[in-house]
Amino acid sequence: MVTRNVTLPQQAGRSPSGWYATIAVLVALIALGIYAYSRELSEGMAVTGMRNIGPMGGATWGLYITFVVYFVGLSFAGISTAAVIRLARIDRLRPISRMAELLTVITLALAGLAILADLGQPLRGIVNLFRYARPQSPFFGTFTLVISGYLFASLVYLYLDGRRDAWLSEQTAERHLGFYRLWAAGYRDTPAERERHDRATFWLAIAIVPLLVTAHSTLGFVFGLQVGRPGWFSALQAPAFVILAGVSGLGMLAIIAAAVRRWLHREEELTVAIFRWLSTALTILLLTYLYLVVVELLTNLYTGSSRERDVMSELLFGEYAWIYWGAVGTFVIALVLLLVRAALPSLRSAVWPVVAVGGLVNLGAIGKRYLIVVPSQTKGTLLPYDEGSYTPAWTEFALIIGLIALGVLAYLLFTRYFPIVELPRPATSEEKEAR
């Protein structure tokens, strides 16, 4: 028999101050995104800033694909953190495990929606992809393996990992019992069930790791294997994608963990040690990423073809220089902040530097994703076309803002109805007696 000594679920059913106002703002932003998409569906892609490469001097991939890459990048750190926690049995990081899993599921869903927004004929795109795509192609690996396979695997992981907490919530919650019962699906937390759950999630984590590395590498290959596109063709694209994905994802996880810690008062579970681990991981990944940036810069400037150098010079000194240096600047500032935090004893227990780093690296990651997607289309043509340009239209901004609002709303709603931090296991009567 289980004692009911745990307050469950965390903040579920309660409406903190500003809750309804926040929801109203998010819903309004989502409505704006839907309106923008309706314009795109009725008027065609002409309402976006995207145009054909070459004769029309534009870019066929713009803000949508930039955010597809960004969202998929965020998902990487989510499920990989959860998998590493499970496989390496790092129990002190377990409180961020569910946050990471949820981050993966939501960002992958957003990536899928951003792809749909990028397709002029979404229905035709979806059907033909499953009908004609080449599984050997990086496009297939990215846009179907990631969105369907990886998302499905992450959903299974999130669902199974949450069954015990759903059962615990069902024991004590007064509302939404049907929801908790449905999620728990008969779970009773017997020793046999616990053992089976541990075994299932262990193997699931093992199966997810190669899938996520493959998925994120193929996203890099979509760009890196295009030999006719200066600026994209590089062996470093895949590893750089994976590393920057880790940087932005861990940064976002730090922001979410700090928000949960503050607003749901989970200081006991979300300890400073967790933020120390996040900052150490971020430091290593940031150093690695900056190393890759320097290597790519030197290679292109020393030995790149003339068109390769043209694209690089546009990044360093031309139209895109403010984004390039802005992105690199945020990474450098973030790294300095992390090193200062590690060096100064007074800052070692502070959470805010890690949150600031999370914000900075995510801004930088969006900038870098934009630079990966756009300049090679407008400035990297090998055929004798004039240089092109691309400026996102308001519809694109509105749709992306709507998608982000949708993601935030989904996260908030989940947090309201389900424990976002794994609940402690209540003592059974046998354990109590043993004490």
Binding site: R131, R134, F152, E193, A200
Partner: protein, 73 residues
């Protein structure tokens, strides 16, 4: 019984992936003709995805399907 179903799902999932990838989708090799762009079986890519989902669904079956005898302990 449960373990048997799980193993079967994993095996069938991987077989489906391999079959779709190597035999049913567009042929591997240097593309020298139009046939390299067309799948040998329509919706072969979907079968590949179904194979992946089947493998991961095995975890659901493993946890959710009751196994009398083992669970009672």
């Amino acid at each position: 019984m449960r373990r048997g179903i799980v193993v079967l799902m994993v095996v069938v999932g991987f077989v489906l992936q391999a079959t779709a990838f190597f035999f049913l989708a567009a042929p591997l090799g240097t593309p020298t003709a139009v046939r390299f762009s067309e799948p040998r079986l329509p919706f072969a890519p979907l079968l590949f995805i179904v194979g992946i989902m089947l493998v991961f669904s095995a975890a659901l079956v493993y946890e959710l399907l009751p196994d009398r005898g083992a669970d009672e302990g």
